[in-house]
Symmetry: C2
Subunit: 349 residues, 2 copies
């Protein structure tokens, strides 16, 4: 085993602090990665604080990882020492079910293996995430990161990016699509950038009037303040596709009624308590759909990263030191981040 410096939550209530974890010795199919940057996702906070069931401690969060290859196993074909790579929300899956065969490992019938807090078949323990100096990952779950991309800004593409890219692609968003993005946070700002780059007409819905200029700068064609009933009514039946990135419970009908016939609204966040029940009438009268989508598969993650390299897209970030993570969590709870914290792992030593 390889002792590796990390930052861990020792319990649900204690702040994160320095820790040492054991990474496995790379197998023949593994890539050993020195982590340069790791994005900070809301899931990290939920898991570290046991706001979702099942957190094991010490817990090392982080699944928006960008690093440099320091070693590869003897069977590794796709990666070479020195190249910049990424690791997202998954580090393993069964590799033989229909979803894995379709390149949609996130829907693996046996359950994908999360980058942190998931059973680790190699060690018999559980996985540790990217708040650490290094990680060892099977090459099937390692992504190529173009040198054209800023490595810190690219980190959030591995979760926030793919979580919005996958539904945009699955529901065939492209030139002429009328797309709505609900919420301008880590996911929402990537949704705006990616939908815009795909050629869609993008309308951003936000409760914060002070985010209007940012929304337009990020690529939205229109920004609608969702608390303004007249502005919302003016958009009724006008959109083909909506990604709702808001995971706090809220009225879905307000957005479903914006969809044109056959429109689809996809939820990418699960609320801690249920949303109010959507009105069936709103689905029936225009043959609308309410759907959900979970991150994205490895193949489409690479596709997204290549697209971002081609179009010069990275996340809007605030780089922090590792020791600033606890304060960053507090700021995230106040939505005080534009639009993603990224940890510089050089600060961990």
């Amino acid at each position: 085993m390889i002792n590796t410096l990390a930052y861990a939550a020792p319990s649900a209530t204690a702040p994160l602090g320095p820790s040492t974890i054991a990474r496995r010795e790379p197998t023949a199919s593994d890539v050993h990665i020195e982590i340069l940057f790791c994005g900070v996702c809301h899931s990290d906070l939920h898991t570290a604080r046991s706001e979702w069931p099942g957190t094991l401690y010490p817990c090392v969060p982080g699944h928006e990882i960008v690093g440099r290859v320091v070693a590869v196993g003897s069977d590794v074909k796709g990666f070479v020492v020195g190249e910049t790579v990424g690791v997202g929300c998954m580090v393993d899956s069964c590799q033989h079910c229909a979803s894995c065969a379709d390149g949609l490992e996130q829907y693996c019938e046996s359950g994908m293996v999360g980058t942190y807090n998931a059973p680790d078949k190699h060690t018999g323990g559980y996985t540790f995430g990217g708040y650490s100096k290094a990680i060892v990952v099977d090459e099937k779950f390692v992504l190529h990161i173009s040198d054209k991309l800023d490595p810190a800004g690219a980190a959030p593409l591995l979760c926030a990016g793919i979580t919005t890219w996958s539904p945009l692609r699955h529901w065939n968003v492209g030139k002429g699509s009328r797309v709505g993005i609900v919420g301008l946070g880590g996911l929402g700002h990537m949704g705006v950038k990616l939908a815009h780059a795909l050629g869609a007409h993008v309308t951003l819905f936000t409760t914060s009037a002070n985010k209007r200029d940012d929304g337009l700068k990020l690529g939205a064609d229109e920004v609608v303040i969702s608390t303004d009933p007249d502005a919302m009514a003016a958009k009724a039946n006008s959109l083909d596709f909506i990604i709702d990135t808001v995971s706090a419970p809220h009225n879905l009908d307000v957005y479903l009624s914006l969809l044109a016939r056959d429109g689809v609204m996809t939820l990418v966040g699960a609320p801690p308590t249920p949303h109010p029940s959507p009105t069936v009438f709103n689905l029936i009268m225009k043959r609308r759909s309410l759907a959900g989508s979970l991150i994205g598969g490895i193949k489409e993650t690479q596709e997204m990263l290549d697209f971002c390299a081609e179009h010069g897209i990275v996340s809007e970030i605030e780089v922090i030191q590792m020791k600033e993570i606890n304060g960053a969590y507090e700021r995230m709870l106040k939505s005080d981040v534009k639009y993603r914290f990224v940890i510089d792992l050089a600060s961990l030593s």
Copy 2:
């Protein structure tokens, strides 16, 4: 105007009884139809009793109409005197919006004109339905009924049939599709028959163990008693498409969890009070969709009628006399009908 014998509800609380209504003189594009049979839909009851807002009295329900052409206007090209025809839930639409252009008049942007209780541009009043001896309808909303079909059994195809056919076709159900039908009533029994005839593997979900044999006879490959948790658990993640015909409020998660990845559940009935809010997790984890669907367009209604003629499909019915309608409503409220009442209009004189 043409005085026409009908059966009408004089108010929300009074029983239906004999009445005389005025039908317009046929215009150049109209078909004048002597009504032979009219199916009895739950919507008739909801409207007659003002359980939905906006009922105008006297109210003549009925939108599953089969009759014989007695006259055609000078511009009518598609119909001849003497032929058997049908009229469903709509008698008009704007004819120039995108939905009308797509043959999906039920989603007309200006609102389709219902066969009863809708504004009638010809008379300045409102429309009267099929509980009557005759009706005058623009040929665009008249359907051909093959002589191969029993005219009484064909009547419910105009609403119960098309309401299940349209989503089956829209979501590409065919050979190899794994389809669930929830509820064995007027809509559900047509859903089973049509999905089976389209080549799908059909699983019927019902709360009534005594409907098992009927379900199998109607074409279901399997019948699952939905109150049996083990039987339901055994079907988890196994279906591609579900039509939920139950309009009483119920737990949607029980059925959403039966869908495989990318599966769709379509609601065809709107509950009087909301269903419990579905769990977002159930949508996200398998990229499932919850959708709605409203009857069907004229073109697809004709397609369905032709398919039924080819495959010998009609509704399972109990023919009643016009004067039995009030008792039939009471029996419908107890689900005491297998599976649709059809009024023989010869009994109205």
